[in-house]
């Protein structure tokens, strides 16, 4: 059985069941999650949903990657490509 994956910028990111999107991206060596509307880096920061630094467009909705469980086939898009 192959490991489940989600997509981030065209990359397949493997994850373990129960893992957050942030943790899976971190394990894949991704520390820069994108850029916000002011050009600031989106990055993992507080880990508890408070800082809003780690947001990305996840399956079409702006979400904190640290609070969102990774799921098979999920599509994670950096904020600069979110089209909002």
């Amino acid at each position: 059985m192959t490991a489940p994956i989600f997509r981030f910028k065209g990359r397949a990111i493997p994850f373990r069941p129960g893992e957050s999107v942030a943790a899976a991206l971190d394990a894949a060596g991704v520390t820069l999650l994108g850029h916000d509307a002011l050009g600031q880096a989106n990055r993992y920061f507080c880990g508890i949903g408070a800082c809003q630094n780690c947001v990305a467009l996840i399956d079409g909705v702006v979400r904190e990657t640290c609070l969102t469980l990774a799921a098979q086939g999920m599509v994670v898009v950096p904020m600069e490509d979110a089209g909002g």
Partner: protein
């Protein structure tokens, strides 16, 4: 379905303890928790098959007892629910992340056990990717059983840094160094007090330090992280040591931590007409997990009692735990006595969400007209962004106070205000909630 007697927000130590107590009183209790498991950040559960992060045996025993009692209580817990606030009619608002739906709940009493957030002092470059809070690294480590990869530097102030460092080391990737503003070895009186009155905390601390020594991790005391620069794919930390020398340390990740504070941002004071609202645990006073359990238990008893018409006092343990916290903060008092924000260069980011810097605050505080905290928010956009001031309101208020010693010191609350949503929420969820149509016809 029966009306909710006690709605508890947060399934960390305080919320779990409150739920257990209120449940014992035979009340209908519902817990909302943003995560998918109970425990909060401090007792974050590992995913299946992940190795557990090492915690002191005493803490492990407390955790085990609490988790077992919570599981046995069979309290109705709704996971994946992000709390958004209490509206002016007393409705508790949340977003159900499992479905994307907006949830409104009415309860006779509400216990807010939202925990703490870390205090992070700004340093030039703290906004870069690769920089996180040390607690953030720890929570991820607890979840995944994996130490953060690459060269990791921990910096700031307080006992959490050595705990995280020791846990990382035990999982196979010790940090390259721990930069600590205080120097507990030089605070003899506080050290003696800790050993005398809170022996277990001293034992825990020595356990962590032993682990660091074993892995040859340098605990640089009386040292401060001055700034963080980019270095290709990595970072360079500029550190000033206790001798005043500047050293450069290369790192892939930097974990910052300067203490903790209550996560009570935006919460309105209790409304006499609305439901009884009680803050519990770190959300009321940030004293750590053990105090949170005691305080949560007291909150559970208090709402149970209040629903029957009498009140309950603060638990006695809190006095002892507050004293322990005070000793720790003396022990870790920064060696440098200058104001930590006073010497920051003007281009240091103060509010990361709105990208506002120290110089912009100085400009607003420079005129003859003494702006209030709220005016500084309005005109400088400090605390106006997505984190709603959680990571800049304290620092902005403190720097304002430093810049204008003759004016009353503003509080973080003056900048953040009290309002909901306390966290950003997708408009789709609210617009589709149908709440509006239910109550009255459009005019």
């Amino acid at each position: 379905m029966a009306e909710i007697d006690v709605l508890i927000v947060g399934a960390g130590p305080a919320g779990m303890a409150a739920a257990i107590e209120a449940g014992k009183a035979g009340l209908r209790v519902v817990v909302l928790e943003q995560h998918q498991t109970p425990g909060g950040a401090i007792f974050r559960q590992a995913i299946a098959d992940a190795p557990a992060v090492r915690i002191p045996p005493r803490v492990a025993a407390i955790r085990h007892e609490l988790s077992a009692a919570f599981a046995a209580s069979r309290i109705e817990t709704r996971y994946g629910h992000v709390f958004l606030g209490i509206d002016s009619d007393g409705f508790v608002l949340a977003e159900d992340r499992n479905t994307g739906a907006f949830v409104t709940l009415k309860a006779k009493s509400i216990v807010l056990a939202l925990g703490a957030v870390e205090k992070i002092l700004p340093r030039p470059g703290w906004e870069r990717a690769g920089v996180s809070t040390a607690g953030g690294l720890q929570v991820m480590m607890k979840e995944t059983g994996r130490a953060p990869a690459g060269r990791v530097l921990l910096a700031g102030n307080g006992p959490l840094l050595v705990a995280v460092a020791a846990q990382m080391a035990a999982l196979g990737n010790p940090p390259v160094a721990v930069i600590e503003a205080g120097d507990p070895f030089r605070r003899f009186a506080a050290g003696v007090a800790l050993a005398a009155f809170h022996q277990h905390l001293a034992v825990e601390a020595f356990g962590y330090l032993r682990e660091l020594r074993r892995h040859r991790v340098e605990w640089q005391r009386g040292a401060t992280l001055q700034r963080i620069e980019r270095d290709g794919e990595g970072l360079i930390a500029c550190v000033r040591n206790s001798a005043g020398e500047i050293k450069f340390i290369r790192a892939d990740r930097i974990g910052l931590h300067d203490g903790i504070r209550s996560n009570e941002f935006g919460l309105a004071p209790a409304n006499a007409r609305g439901p009884l609202v009680v803050h519990a645990g770190d959300c009321r006073e940030a004293l750590g997990a053990e105090a949170a359990i005691a305080d949560g238990r007291a909150a559970g008893m208090r709402v149970a009692a209040a629903l029957r018409g009498f009140t309950h006092a603060e638990p006695r343990e809190l006095t002892r735990l507050r004293q322990a916290e005070a000793i720790l903060s003396r022990l870790f008092a920064p060696v440098e006595t200058a104001h930590p924000l006073a010497a920051l260069p003007d281009d240091t980011v103060l509010c990361r969400c709105e990208n506002r810097n120290v110089g912009e605050l100085k400009a607003l505080c420079g005129g003859a007209d003494g702006l209030t905290g709220r005016e500084v928010k309005h005109h400088g956009r400090f605390a106006m962004g997505s984190c709603q001031g959680r990571f800049c309101a304290d620092n902005t208020a403190a720097l304002m106070a430093h810049l204008r010693p003759d004016l009353p010191a503003p509080q973080a609350r003056d900048l953040t205000g009290t309002r909901w949503p306390i966290r950003p929420v997708p408009i789709a969820a609210l617009a589709a909630s149908g709440v509006g149509q239910a109550k009255e016809q459009e005019i």
